[in-house]
């Protein structure tokens, strides 16, 4: 074999090796596409497969992981949710992710490490699918010192929505007052129980929101919220 032929053979070998390595990497990058192609439960979602794949690619174009979409469709399959409902959730989620990605990038909160981004978009997906409006999230970004505080307050609001409904304005006002308050981040998780206690005492959701915002606005904390709650329930 001539030296030129040897070089060509070596180059071809390199191309083949990289090609072989690239195939699984590409599959791993596109979790939803892979799920739709290989999971036994995917058959029932064949009517939405093209749109779902396209939405996953839209995320990939913005360097947003699509792992949360896999979680959604797997949960939907288990709970026998219709393809129409799933694709509707996909559209809302992708829109929310793109908006959140843009605003987080703007304020410098986006993690650089891929695992940090995976974790971030799982937490965001959970709060958005639980009912936190992306417009509310975009407003809260401005008032948060850091990403963890922003996510924790978003989770507190999302959890509150499992016990009572809140209008978008009320969500924003509640989130802003928490972020501006002296409450430690670990105390944000108490908010849903405040609503539960207020509702159990016969107060309306709006009343409880007002009590929380007023108490925090006066520099108070959980004790002051609790005191006002008890005074009003009496």
């Amino acid at each position: 074999m001539t030296s030129a032929a040897r070089r060509i053979a070596a180059f071809a070998a390199i191309v083949i090796v990289f090609g072989v390595l690239r195939v699984p990497a590409a599959s791993a990058d596109n979790g939803l596409e892979s799920w739709l192609r290989s999971d036994p439960r995917a058959a029932q979602y064949r009517p939405i497969a093209d749109e779902a794949t396209e939405l996953a690619r839209v995320l990939a174009d913005s360097n947003i992981p699509d792992g949360f979409l896999v979680r959604i469709i797997a949960e939907a399959a288990a709970k026998r949710v219709s393809p129409t409902a799933v694709v509707s959730v996909f559209r809302r989620t992708v829109d929310a992710f793109l908006a959140a990605n843009a605003v987080l990038s703007e304020v410098g909160f986006l993690p650089e490490r891929p695992d940090g981004r995976d974790s971030l978009f799982v937490r965001l997906g959970i709060v958005f699918s639980a009912g936190l409006d992306v417009s509310v999230f975009e407003e809260l970004v401005v008032y948060a010192d850091n990403l963890d505080k922003l996510l924790t307050v978003s989770e507190a609001i999302a959890e509150t929505l499992s016990v009572t409904d809140l209008e978008p304005d009320a969500k924003t006002a509640l989130g802003r007052s928490l972020l501006a308050s002296r409450l430690p981040v670990s105390a944000y998780g108490s908010v849903p129980s405040v609503y539960l206690r207020g509702r159990a005492g016969g107060l309306s959701t709006d009343d409880v929101t007002t009590i929380i915002i007023d108490a925090l606005g006066r520099g108070g904390g959980l004790v002051q919220i609790d005191a006002e709650l008890r005074r009003r329930v009496r």
């Binding site: 979680r71 959604i72 797997a74 949960e75 939907a76 399959a77 288990a78 709970k79 949710v81 409902a85 959730v89 809302r92 989620t93 974790s119 799982v122 937490r123 959970i126 709060v127 699918s129 639980a130 009912g131 989770e155 999302a158 959890e159 509150t160 929505l161 499992s162 016990v163 002296r182 409450l183 430690p184 670990s186 105390a187 998780g189 108490s190 849903p192 129980s193 539960l196 206690r197 509702r199 159990a200 904390g221 959980l222 004790v223 609790d226 005191a227």
Partner: protein, 225 residues
């Protein structure tokens, strides 16, 4: 009961001051003595305990669930406070100097008590939920349980098993209506899950740390590790 002292403790804590262990124990004792105090402080007690260096909030059994009805939720919080206090043992502090053999014996004794506590948690307290058993690796074993005396089968279905029903089936070894399972999970991840009863009824974990709406109109539990 006069709650002024406890209000002061919590206000200081909110301002970033670390509560003293004595303050936390006084708060615990007050919770144990008076259900109204437990209702008032139960939710934040685990965080105060953690900041006082007594216990991790993540390991606390005080995990009220937003899915329950409001009044039963309050009762549950109080019950959980009682359980946690009943099960927490505090060794008396020794302030004077002790010899090396005595110290070694004390360390062994504490280790035995710790092992006993873990064994007790694993085998004799199946209703605390969910409990994460810490380990130095990236994996955390979490114990889930559900009281469902009428159920024929219970499985847990969530992000950690790709929402595959039947993959993690809970056992009810004592025929006491308490179903449980231990699952190794990845540290640092956030999971959502439901219990599936008799292959048809989806419910959130009544003892979960957090409960949220899922995108399809029902509720599910959230576990942060």
């Amino acid at each position: 009961m006069n709650t002024e002292r406890f209000d002061t403790i919590i206000t200081r804590w909110e301002n970033g001051e670390t509560p003293s262990p004595d303050d936390v124990r006084a708060l615990e004792q007050a919770c144990a003595a008076d259900v109204r105090v437990a209702r008032r402080y139960g939710k934040i007690l685990p965080f105060i305990r953690r900041d006082a260096g007594l216990e991790s909030a993540d390991e606390s059994p005080l995990r009220p669930n937003g899915a329950a009805e409001p009044r039963s939720q309050l009762v549950e919080i109080a019950d959980l406070v009682m359980e946690s206090i009943a099960e927490s043992g505090h060794l008396p502090r020794r302030r004077h100097r002790i010899s090396l053999p005595v110290a070694a014996a004390a360390v062994i004794a504490i280790a035995l008590v710790g092992i006993g506590a873990i064994a007790s948690t694993l085998f004799f307290s199946p209703t605390q939920q969910p409990i994460a058993h810490d380990s130095p690796s990236d994996t955390v074993t979490v114990r889930f349980s559900l009281v469902a005396p009428e159920a024929q089968s219970v499985s847990i279905v969530g992000d950690f098993n790709d929402w595959a029903p039947g993959l993690h089936v809970l056992a009810e070894p004592d025929s006491d209506g308490v179903w449980w399972i231990e699952i190794p999970l990845q540290r640092g991840d956030t999971y959502t899950y439901n219990f599936l009863i008799d292959d048809e009824v989806w419910i959130p974990d009544p003892r979960a740390e957090r409960t949220i709406r899922d995108p399809f109109g029902t509720k599910k539990s959230v576990l942060n590790l």
